[in-house]
Point group: C2
Chain length 193, copies 2
Amino acid sequence: MGDRRVRRTHAALQGALIRLAEDRELSQISVADVAGQAGVSRSTFYDHYRDVHELAEAACTGMIDELVDVMTALGGDHGTGDPIGSLRTFFAALAEHASLYRSLLGPQGSARVIDHIRRRMSAAALTRATGGGTAAPGDPLHVPAAFIAGALVGVATDWLQRGCAHTPSEMAELTWPILSVCHFGTRAPAPRP
Amino acid sequence: MGDRRVRRTHAALQGALIRLAEDRELSQISVADVAGQAGVSRSTFYDHYRDVHELAEAACTGMIDELVDVMTALGGDHGTGDPIGSLRTFFAALAEHASLYRSLLGPQGSARVIDHIRRRMSAAALTRATGGGTAAPGDPLHVPAAFIAGALVGVATDWLQRGCAHTPSEMAELTWPILSVCHFGTRAPAPRP
DNA sequence: TAGGTTAACCGACAAGTGTAGGCAATGTAG
DNA sequence: CTACATTGCCTACACTTGTCGGTTAACCTA
């Protein structure tokens, strides 16, 4: 199990895609491009991934931990931790590879990657909301989790598409006032009459 | 101007795509499929649209008015109107063409369509926030607009992917408590100390 | 209705996609 | 170290994609 050749090929393909997606739109990257950049034959690509989108999903799983962490680090109602600092880390991680994320999340990007990132962030928020426990498939807590995850993905995408007009710190300061009032850390949010 | 043939071909292609996307994933729909279903030659397709994603974007622009309207209809801080009713309309419009929207917004969907819907909803929210005026490119109000738009797209996508487990009314009731506290109708949101 | 305009179709082309079978090199287990 | 299993590569194939000119027919305007 865990053949060394497989790990090498996976790393080569994922690295090649990341490199290419930094100066080109994802839709303009062909399987042949990736295989060539990775020094791997085209048929080998298909031995591991079905298409470019599947590779992109695999490639970003190793990159988005910093993005997902923001969901668990956010204090929510409890006021613990440093939520603005977490948000700054979130936006800084995006800025670190701005052109890459713009290529993946923008209009020419991949619905698969967008869905994957949103899903992981939503799952993290849900885990936090249930206090580490697991939620039933029809649990209403899925709604606030998807709400927050989608909101942050939306803000991030909008920010990247505008060329990162604000600094990560400014974005954190602008986002927190809205996010803080979205009670997503409690099981029974109290409706406002 | 406005050649009748062009309108007919556009309608035929958009209708064909909508029909096909209702029982197949968007990624499994080829240009030849759409052209055949529309009774149009393949080269004619390329005379009007660059690829399936561009057609999908055009096809949904005529469908998402009900989705966009929720942004302007939401009362926000003013408490005017019937926000829960607007949200119900929003989710009901999604449910009306559930399999189509699932095909467009899901992992096998189109980043172009996702981005387009989010952008239009964000623009509507921004217009409402500025009271009908126009916002500068770097205006901080872009952040809450993108926040709300992304949140609703996220909730909608999550709901569709779970097979619409709740009714539109339930979704409206679940979404409103979170959405209502996100002050997006005022120019100067008051930060919480 | 007669005219020029232009959309739609056709055929063909290079390039990319996805799949299959066979072969050589590498890795792992014994 | 040896033997077996697996990986990666090569070749080849049918198919799709995106783009050309050139032709026919429909459309708008006057």
